[in-house]
């Protein structure tokens, strides 16, 4: 550790001890209360309402979906066209003895749903049980002539239409037990992930295909936390195991051409704590872990191993101090450390591609990284209306086998909060960030291949300048206006080949209205532009081609809610959202040409009416409209490009509708 950790700590503690006795910010914690005259046996709370028993709502939903694209399932929660049903619940139970249970369920029965149960006795134990199903849909119209069965992809003259989607089924169970000063806890989670994702295989010509996914992940975490009046500490152990049920993929004429994601394990033991001395708070964490992977390797000539002993040891630590030196002045700082030490052994493996330096054999390169960080910040209240914060952050990153062994990020930032006018808040922030480091050199393994003028963007020298302004205005109790604007410029000033410059700016506006007791409305809008330039060289020399990338995003929304119709029995609401994402790339090489269309937009409209049948029962009718369009110049038909087989044009263009009728019953 290069930072003067002890010096920083001692400084904070010294300052803290000096000011502990001086005027401090108020502490109204109940543990500081002067209760010498309290006669708590008289606190009977006869006027307090009784809260025993069940409360909450349960509901059933019946919906009808009209859509010809499974992508709409992302918005509707299921890709199934036609009718569906689901269950909602939000229930609470509590009794005099201190037992309490909460149960929440949302859209149970659909492909995107969850249920959470928490039950226990206050101050003693808690049991939690969770279930969640998450499904994401990419396309239902992927064409492939590779038929998958038992790790074999069989080419066929018959084309199949595949669905590209991923489903996660998650279940978890947790238990915690504790009394005043301790709590022990354990939690187990299991996730099963299935589906098909877009991938590609070299046969030796590239063929895109729907890669099957069938994997399970098990996580177990257990720990003990202890706390006292001025301190809290937590000892935690975490273990995770990933198991892939899909093996290496083969073609009938090409065995084991696509390695499976190997099974892996991770273990981590961490100790964290916080200690408070007056108005100085010290917190820290130390975590040691390892990630293991020793799955059987594909057996082939030139592979000397049955299993590779993949093991990465990790060590993470952080120590932070913050001190409220006076009512007006806060001082803080932290140091952090993170090491990834790859202990996997190094061997030579035969490669199909002949390398100019190593020939047909190549050694694996276990990558190590080490990160050190330092942060110092101060906050000073100039007056009740102005508060200034400033800080310095440094991050050192060391890596093995990289083109640059070390990079250093130094950032200076300042924030000014202004509340000079009633109902008006202004926040300003400016950041100057400079990255440099050790000498940039293409490493020995690739030096003859890589253009010496290239500076990889995540290693290159970079000057970042960023500004941000936030404005909040609440002129009346029924109107609030938020406006934020930001600008950032990344200048890769030593880069001739690679990413040379990036500019990112935008704004957001939010308007909230509470027009009367029954009518509320909102509107928001925002835009963002990211403009980037990069340079390349086909001639293995200075730049001879340039790419200008212009990203453009706009987001608009508005909505209302009106309650109070028909003697407060009927309420109406609506939400509308529009989003447009586009990225235009033009490439200059002798002439400037656009790469092609790459954008998406969607309109989303939701309308709903709630009608109270009685004090307990209610009906809700909801309509949702989704208009989605996306296009990507790279999405081409299966055989548009000779030698390349794609999954076909996977662009989307659809209108989809959902009508949902819900009945809910309120328990009291």
């Amino acid at each position: 550790m290069r930072f003067k950790l002890n010096l920083i700590t001692l400084s904070f503690l010294a300052i803290s001890s000096v000011v502990t006795a001086s005027a401090m910010a108020a502490d109204f914690g109940v543990n500081k209360a002067n209760t010498s005259t309290v006669k708590q046996d008289k606190f009977q709370c006869k006027r307090c309402p009784k809260v025993d028993g069940y409360s909450g709502t349960i509901g059933v939903n019946a919906a009808y979906i009209n859509s010809d694209d499974i992508h709409s399932g992302n918005a509707f929660g299921t890709d199934k066209d036609g009718a569906n049903a689901s269950v909602d619940a939000d229930l609470k139970y509590q009794n005099d003895a201190g037992y309490k249970a909460l149960f929440q369920a949302h859209r149970l029965g659909l492909d995107n749903s969850f249920a959470h149960l928490t039950a226990g006795k206050s101050g003693l134990y808690t049991v939690t049980a969770d279930y969640q199903r998450l499904t994401s849909y990419q396309s239902g119209d992927a064409f492939s002539q590779l038929w998958y069965k038992d790790d074999l992809l069989t080419p066929s003259v018959h084309t199949q239409t595949q669905q590209l989607s991923l489903q996660r089924n998650q279940a978890g169970l947790g238990l915690s037990y504790g009394r005043d000063f301790y709590k022990a806890y354990v939690r187990y989670d299991h996730e099963q992930k299935t589906g098909n994702i877009s991938s590609s295989i070299v046969t030796p010509r590239p063929v895109n295909f729907g890669q099957p996914v069938d994997a399970n992940t098990d996580n177990l975490t257990a720990g003990l936390s202890l706390s006292g009046e001025h301190w809290v500490t937590d000892l935690n152990y975490f273990v995770s195991q990933y198991q892939n049920d899909i093996g290496a993929l083969s073609l009938p004429y090409l065995y084991d051409v696509f390695a499976a994601t190997p099974d892996n394990q991770a273990h981590r033991l961490s100790l964290s704590g916080q200690y408070q001395i007056g108005r100085t708070v010290i917190s820290g964490r130390l975590a040691s872990g390892k990630m293991i992977q020793d799955d059987a390797l594909i057996q082939m000539p030139g592979n000397p191993l049955q299993n590779w002993d993949g093991e990465v040891k990790t060590l993470d630590g952080k120590f932070a101090v913050t001190s409220l030196v006076s009512n007006k002045f806060r001082l803080g700082g932290s140091v952090d450390y993170s090491k990834r030490d790859n202990k996997g052994s190094i061997w030579e493996f035969a490669q199909f591609e002949v390398n100019g330096i190593t020939g047909a054999f190549k050694q694996n390169v276990p990558l190590d990284t080490e990160r050190r960080g330092l942060k110092v910040n101060a906050s000073y209240r100039l007056s009740s209306d102005y508060r200034l914060q400033a800080g310095y952050d440094r991050k050192e990153m060391e890596r093995s086998y990289g083109d640059r062994e070390q990079t250093n990020d130094n950032a200076l930032w300042a924030k000014l909060n202004i509340q000079a006018l009633d109902n008006l808040k202004l926040k300003l922030k400016a950041t100057l960030d400079n990255r440099d480091g050790s000498e940039y050199q293409t490493n020995a393994l690739t030096s003859s291949e890589t253009n010496p003028l290239l500076r990889k963007y995540y290693l290159a020298d970079r000057e970042r300048t960023a500004f941000e302004a936030k404005f909040n205005h609440t002129p009346t109790s029924w109107l609030s206006l938020d406006l934020s604007a930001r600008y950032a410029n990344d200048d890769y000033n030593q880069t001739q080949i690679g990413l040379t410059e990036s500019e990112d700016y935008g704004y957001d506006i939010n308007l909230g209205l509470q027009l009367n007791q029954h009518l509320s409305a909102y509107a928001f809008g925002g835009q963002q532009w990211i403009k980037s330039n990069q340079a390349g060289s086909q001639g293995f020399s200075t730049a001879d081609w340039y790419a200008d990338i212009e990203d453009d995003f706009i987001n608009l929304g508005a909505g209302f809610n009106y309650s109070g119709l028909m003697q407060n029995k009927l309420s109406l609401g609506g939400d509308y959202l529009f989003a447009n994402s586009s990225s235009d790339t033009s490439v200059t090489y002798n002439v400037t040409a656009p790469l092609g269309d790459y954008y998406s937009f969607n309109h989303s409209l939701q309308l709903h009416a709630n009608y109270a049948l009685s004090e307990e029962m209610a009906l809700k009718l909801a309509y949702q409209y989704e208009r989605y369009y996306d296009t990507d110049y790279a999405q081409i038909d299966v055989d548009t490009v000779p030698g390349l087989t794609t999954l076909g044009d996977l662009n989307h263009n659809y209108n989809a509708h959902q009508v949902m009728l819900s009945f809910s019953y309120q328990l009291r």
């Binding site: 109204f28 051409v257 253009n451 925002g526």
Partner: protein, 317 residues
């Protein structure tokens, strides 16, 4: 002329009503500055003149206020919960000793929320008096604390359901301030936050953490691995920027590119790979060859997150 006269009279009536109503609504402490109020409350807190009958004393006046009574719908109003304030000093556990507050409102109480003149750190000291556990361990060094965010800016206590404790509404609470992230979740690709299938607190701890960006896990990559365990490895052939930081290529809050990539292939790849072979090839027209069509560089280098194939050094197998 007639209209002008009516408007003038109307304005006079409104002004007169406003002048009359102000003194009625004003409290003895409404003119105090935040510092003066804090000083007075500090003295009152130290004196410890609590009521004789606890919540019953408070409800003598406040029982008709539905916001006040909503405390009994939540855990803070449940006297059968051993750690609840209602099982202890009741209303005064949070709002401080009654003192002479009930003598025609002569003394202020500790108040929370946007209308409170008390500094955020003073309001928060009430909450932290009980909530001293590992979840709040890093609060004091957190950016929310440094930015003077009050607990009550996010949490609602006088309610049966705190919006930030509900996975269907917590994202709305976070994005009411974090507007850039609110927009980003509507980009072409993003995590399923806009449908509340993921929440901001799945990755971040709003009370701060001992990791960067207040992440729940130790590092950015550990955070990603918690759902993407297949990326954890290690694998035989690693891809350096992947191993170092997932955020080198992905923006987890959303992107105008597919797969939350900061740039798309081939441009993203060519920001690091410019050799004397095909990686430096200029792609000037999309969809016409294997470099600009289909999955671009990933048509062949599909194992971009690393390969465990003995012959997979080019991340093709």
């Amino acid at each position: 002329m007639m209209n002008k006269c009516i408007i003038t009279k109307l304005l006079c009536v409104i002004f007169a009503f406003a002048c009359l109503s102000l003194p009625v609504q004003a409290t003895a402490w409404s003119q105090l500055t935040g510092e003066q109020l804090e000083q007075q409350l500090t003295e009152k807190f130290a004196e410890g003149n609590y009521s004789k009958k606890g919540a019953d004393s408070c409800l003598m006046c406040h029982k008709k206020n539905p916001t006040v009574m909503a405390i009994f719908d939540g855990v803070h109003g449940n006297s059968s919960q051993a750690n609840s304030p209602m099982a202890g000093l009741q209303c005064e556990a949070c709002h401080g000793p009654l003192g002479k507050h009930n003598k025609a409102g002569k003394e202020p109480m500790i108040a929370f929320g946007k209308e409170s003149k008390l500094p955020a750190q003073t309001q928060n000291s009430v909450c932290l008096g009980c909530h001293n556990n590992p979840e709040q361990m890093a609060w004091h060094s957190s950016s929310h604390n440094l930015d003077q965010v009050a607990c009550s800016d996010c949490h609602s206590i006088h309610t049966d359901k705190d919006p930030v404790m509900d996975p269907l509404t917590v994202n709305d609470s976070c994005t009411s301030c974090h507007s850039q992230q609110k927009s980003a979740m509507n980009k072409r690709s993003s995590h399923p936050l806009k449908w509340d299938r993921m929440t901001c607190v799945d990755c971040h701890n709003p009370h701060g953490s001992l990791s960067e960006s207040a992440l729940n896990r130790n590092t950015i990559n550990d955070t990603c691995y918690s759902c993407h365990g297949e990326k954890r490895g290690p694998v035989l052939w690693e891809h350096a920027p992947v191993t170092e930081n997932c955020a080198n290529c992905h923006n987890p809050h959303g992107s105008v590119n597919e797969a939350m990539l900061t740039y798309r292939a081939p441009q993203l790849c060519q920001q690091c790979h410019m050799d004397d072979g095909h990686a430096s090839r200029v792609v000037q027209q999309g969809g016409t060859d294997a470099f600009g069509g289909g999955k671009s560089c990933l048509n062949c280098h599909s194992q971009i997150h690393g390969s465990n194939h003995p012959a997979g050094s080019k991340l093709q197998r």
